[in-house]
């Protein structure tokens, strides 16, 4: 509700902006001009993945299903690091056990960063974190075809705060059930 109100206020101020001083042309629109959703053409050419590469995508990662056991297995990282800290290994071992108990499930590993890195480098670092979790689980005997990765960089913080406490919660790898 709060968000909707904010969006409304935002839209109003946008209208004021476009009608006002910033855009020097004729007043003809009540919002910033732009396209409708999902305008898209063309198909992606198939390029093979090298040996040791990632499995084909399954499901839509935006639809998050994360039971409490998986939430508790969230792995945390040191600043600017994608190395699995020894303190995080029991969580990954529990994830390996979970995946052995639920062999039909596909798991998506989400990699995230704190706000102190630059945006685009953080997107790569987040992917490295997700891949580090995947590699650990494969080392524990889990089939890599059941583990896919996605990075959100610093765009999806768990804690919106700006101190060390928030940053520590945001440098993480999360496990999501993609298909049951």
């Amino acid at each position: 509700m709060k968000t909707r109100l904010m969006m409304k206020m935002m839209a109003l101020s946008l209208a004021a902006l476009v009608g006002g001083s910033m855009v020097g042309c004729k007043k003809k629109s009540s919002a910033i001009p732009g396209p409708g959703p999902g305008t898209e053409i063309g198909a992606v050419p198939a390029v093979p993945v090298e040996p040791g590469g990632l499995p084909p995508r399954i499901g839509t990662p935006g639809e998050r299903y994360q039971p409490p056991r998986l939430a508790a297995d969230t792995v945390y990282f040191a600043f600017d690091s994608a190395v699995i800290n020894p303190s995080e290994r029991p969580k990954l071992d529990d994830m390996a056990a979970y995946m052995r108990e639920n062999p039909g499930q596909i798991i998506t590993v989400e990699g995230h960063c704190d706000e102190r890195g630059t945006a685009e480098y953080n997107r790569a670092l987040g992917e490295r974190r997700a891949l580090a979790c995947r590699e650990y689980l494969m080392g524990a005997g889990i089939d890599g075809n059941k583990l896919q990765t996605i990075s959100y960089g610093k765009d999806r913080p768990a804690d919106p705060g700006h101190g060390e406490e928030a940053w520590a919660k945001n440098r993480r790898g999360e496990f999501i059930i993609t298909s049951r």
Binding site: G24, T39, I41, L54, T60, T118, E120, A124
Partner: protein
């Protein structure tokens, strides 16, 4: 800056100008800086409202170019005169006291706004007097969150006018980059749920083609200066690596092979090399690699260096080629480097986080994202003087404005 180098270059500039038009004032330099030329605009003839608007935009353009001081005609070395007729400005530039024009130009409007007429005249003056590419007709694209958690891509004129949203992805649409024209954009969007790279051949249509949608991460799309290739970062082979895609065939060439993260590619102006970020030695550093593949070369040593952009043009070989972000203390600052001499300069030094710099086509201005109290807005930096100004305070209604890119 190597003063002698710039001196001789500017002397050459001056000499050329003298041959071309004996009365044109030349740029002189004092304390290593090109000195601004005093310029004035006499009231244009024609429809008073149109004439006044065009003159006002032109004056702002000349000031924003940073090559000129705008002043009253009595004190100016250069005077712009002209007459507006319908959608056209017939403009001319004179040296003070001379009846012989230094340049004459008919500037025809784009039919959208009169601002484009003034922008043409401004670029013509910069091109003829400074012999530098003008920036008045350029566009800037960026990503903004409108106060929420999703981000969309926007395009506007370089001064913030004619703002337009170009995506409606209702997810994360980030890091837009321009093709060689002022129409094509490459960007990363999570509109499918996954991070994929899209191309918009013409941003005014809003029609996007998905060009990279491999398993894992697809990001960092950067179109080559000839528009035929795209550098990108993919993790499909098990790790975020740097690739080049041939845009006609979609075929990929893998350029790096590491166990660490590669990111943020940009092209050299001749399209032969790519500068990118790798954290293979710990914290992220900048590297340069031949665009066709080969041995990469580390160019920064120590600290946290990220998000490079390569100047498309330079007034002199002694000026910076690269701008990038460096962590200094607890803050990010915009820095520059001359690749030939290795000289690095810190261009911002305040208590804010200054990130995501990209060059204007004049090799002088940089647009970047400044975060103060965790609110990000766009700033324009003059890399010659270090002076930074907020691009347009009206953009604040879009929330956090990040990952800007300046059209070429």
């Amino acid at each position: 800056m190597n003063k002698r180098g710039l001196w001789s270059f500017l002397f050459l500039c001056a000499a050329t100008s003298v041959v071309w038009a004996a009365t044109a004032p030349a740029i002189t330099i004092r304390k290593g800086m090109p000195e601004k030329i005093n310029i004035a605009i006499e009231p244009f003839g024609g429809d008073p409202a149109a004439a006044q608007e065009i003159a006002s935009v032109l004056a702002t353009d000349l000031v924003r170019s940073d090559w000129f001081n705008y002043m009253a005609p009595a004190n100016a070395e250069l005077v712009v005169r002209g007459a507006v007729s319908g959608n056209v400005l017939n403009g001319a530039l004179y040296s003070r006291g001379s009846a012989q024009p230094l340049l004459q130009k008919s500037c025809v409007g784009d039919g959208v706004s009169r601002r484009s007429i003034a922008h043409q005249m401004a670029d013509e003056i910069v091109r003829n007097i400074v012999r530098a590419p003008g920036i008045a007709q350029t566009k800037i694209t960026f990503s903004a969150n409108s106060g929420g958690s999703n981000k969309e891509i926007y395009v506007m004129d370089y001064d913030g006018a004619n703002l337009r949203r170009v995506t409606n992805d209702r997810n994360l649409a980030v890091r837009p980059r321009w093709g060689p024209n002022r129409r094509t954009l490459a960007f990363t969007s999570y509109r499918s749920g996954w991070p994929d790279i899209y191309l918009m051949m013409d941003y005014t249509t809003g029609v996007a083609q998905r060009r990279a949608a491999f398993p894992g991460l697809n990001t960092g799309g950067a179109i080559s200066p000839d528009g035929k290739r795209m550098a990108l970062v993919l993790s499909k082979d098990g790790n975020p690596e740097l690739y080049v895609m041939d845009l006609a065939s979609g075929s990929l060439t893998r350029l790096t092979r590491t166990r660490q993260a590669e990111s943020s590619p940009c092209w050299s102006p001749d399209g032969s090399q790519i500068c990118f970020v790798s954290d293979r030695f710990g914290q992220p550093q900048l590297f340069v690699i031949p665009a066709g593949g080969g041995q990469d070369r580390r160019i920064t040593f120590g600290g946290y260096k990220s998000e490079p952009d390569w100047a498309p043009w330079s007034l002199s070989p002694d000026l910076p080629d690269l701008c990038y972000v460096s962590r200094m203390g607890r803050q990010f600052q915009v820095c520059s480097m001359n690749l030939r001499t290795g000289e690095e300069r810190v261009l911002t030094a305040d208590g804010a986080d200054n990130e995501d710099p990209t060059w204007a086509p004049d090799g002088r201005h940089i647009v970047f994202s400044k975060s103060v109290s965790h609110r990000a807005s766009l700033y324009i930096l003059d890399a010659f003087t270090g002076r930074a100004i907020e691009l347009n305070p009206n953009l604040r209604v879009l929330g956090d404005c990040t990952t800007p890119a300046w059209s070429r």
